[in-house]
Symmetry: C2
Subunit: 345 residues, 2 copies
């Protein structure tokens, strides 16, 4: 577990597909010299990697919303880095950038895999990997554009203490909703209540009757369900939706990784969807990037105003990234999973 | 099996709940004198009863979108009748009316259970029980408001030869879509192709691999699925939906009647809904009655222009209504299920 050196570059490549588990054996650490930028290029020292639950899908060859990452390529991922040298007119040494440099310590870029230059602000630069990154935009647009919560309504969130879930819960509160968080440990339940302001929070692993507990926590029923799991936890929520409920299918962590030849089984929802005239809709943030600017503007305003809390789970060292991803997929993290490669700017 | 007499009234009451099957034992035929209208009332001779798949839900005490019909009351249902005598200023003897007189030969009304007075037109009065009744309005609004098909898209319909399904398929063609009908007999497949203009039709009971057959019939995938069944047929359709697909959950005949204590199981759809960013939405026509006028206007225009075909499955005699309903629920009917009580006007 070491931070990156100035002379050697290390990167992690994907060398196999999940079958279905994500293991260290899928990844290979490769070492080489630090690359040098050519004309019009810049050299970025990657400081932080963002880990996402969606990475399981990105590296799997099961049907997904994008082509899987090709084998033997550098693992794809969102990053924050600092420009070390630049032959690019838009960037100078010392600039901080958010981009898609992937799992490597040093990256040469022509600018096309940089999303934006970061300006110093009253919050850590890592916020650009969660609240002000794709995580925050996902929570904002998924909840507000698909979920369409109205003040006074009840919003339920699965993986409620996670990076997306905790942001959804807080935005719902900002919008005047009642919130229920469902999560997988007592520590996370505590974080939901104290840090993320949920009105109620439940540990699905220890509730003897999760559906009954949800019913007790939401006496007025559930109007919006922001779903990151899609499995038995969702079954328990679905029993309590109101007429006109909206279910935002944002992730399927609770059923992912199952054998693609025998899809996971569960209760059929159609009768409940019909009786409640509910709307269940898949949400992929990449379809909504035209609204990203508005999302980031509101999120930054709320963050600066202290209305959005967050929790980071930072692992040090590129070589630890596969293990950190496995921990994230197993629900073992507390907060946004980040791997730190270089010294904080 | 007799049509109604002028002197005696017969009605059918619901006396038990489905457990879960709908049987003749749930109903009781009761005979009495023909009622007489008081001041402001009129007497209607019921000529036709409309039978609906949704009746299973109306008489069941499982959770539904409305309270179940109370026991020992006259079976609820849509009707066409003729005014026999009237003390009501808006109606005169001889008028034809569409309403909710239920399973009885004669009904006294104060007008509140009459939906509209019918004017003679170039089509049989029974059309007001299907194409120009709730069936047609359901097909029109469910397809166009929830399904939102665009010209050139592919629309799949389950129970494709049924009263709602066959109308959905024809409206989709009028709107420039390609259509696939899925139904349960070779006769119905033939009706789909010849009478209802589907581009392709499949018998789900005889296809060895329904999903493969759907894939072959819809090489461009499915953009709108108008779902009346919700069971294994829907699983096969869901495997072929396109990005951005809309699934209109209008009925659940394929899973209805199951033991409410052990809900039917099936593959979980969430992964597919997410990957395809699909929208699955429950549709109940009663929520959309503000758009009924527009629907009826278009439907009547298309019917008069010969753009809408229909098929009626008429049973004679009130006493045959329970058996006709059982036949409908078992998929044994060919066309809109109607019970004729009186002579055609």
């Amino acid at each position: 577990m070491t931070l990156s050196s100035d002379t050697r570059n290390r990167e992690i490549r994907l060398i196999a597909r999940p079958r279905p588990a994500v293991t260290e054996a899928l990844f290979q650490l490769v070492e080489g010299p630090v690359p040098q930028p050519g004309p019009g290029e810049l050299l970025i020292r990657v400081l932080y990697l963002s880990l996402e639950p969606a990475m399981r899908g990105w590296i799997s060859d099961a049907p997904n919303y994008r082509e899987p990452l090709p084998l033997d390529e550098t693992m794809f991922g969102f990053t924050v880095g600092q420009v070390s040298a630049s032959n690019h007119p838009d960037y100078a040494a010392g600039d901080l950038v958010a981009g898609r440099q992937g799992w490597r310590e040093w990256a040469v870029s022509d600018g096309s895999d940089i999303d934006r230059k970061l300006t110093p602000a009253g919050f850590p630069v890592t916020c650009h990997l969660h609240l002000l990154g794709l995580t925050g935009v996902t929570a904002y647009l998924g909840l507000l554009e698909v979920g369409q919560p109205k003040a006074g309504e009840t919003v339920a969130v699965s993986t409620a203490a996670g990076a997306v879930g905790s942001t959804v819960g807080q935005i719902a509160k900002i919008k005047g909703c009642k919130t229920l968080g469902i999560t997988g440990s007592d520590d996370k339940v505590a974080a939901c209540k104290t840090r993320f302001g949920y009105d109620a929070a439940l540990n699905y692993k220890t509730e003897a009757d999760l559906s009954a507990a949800i019913g007790a926590a939401c006496p007025e029923g559930i109007d919006v369900y922001f779903d990151n799991v899609g499995g038995p936890v969702s079954d328990a929520v679905m029993a309590h939706i109101n007429v006109g409920a909206r279910i935002v299918v944002c992730g399927t962590m609770g059923i992912a990784g199952s054998d693609p030849d025998s899809p996971p089984q569960g209760p059929r929802y159609q009768r409940q969807i019909l009786v409640k005239r509910a709307r269940m809709e898949g949400f992929l943030v990449l379809d909504h990037m035209d609204r990203r600017g508005q999302a980031l503007q509101d999120l930054e305003t709320w963050l600066e105003a202290g209305q959005l809390n967050y929790l980071e789970d930072i692992t040090e060292g590129l070589d630890q990234a596969p293990a950190a991803l496995m921990k994230l997929l197993a629900g073992g993290n507390q907060g946004k999973a980040i791997v730190q490669l270089g010294p904080a700017p």
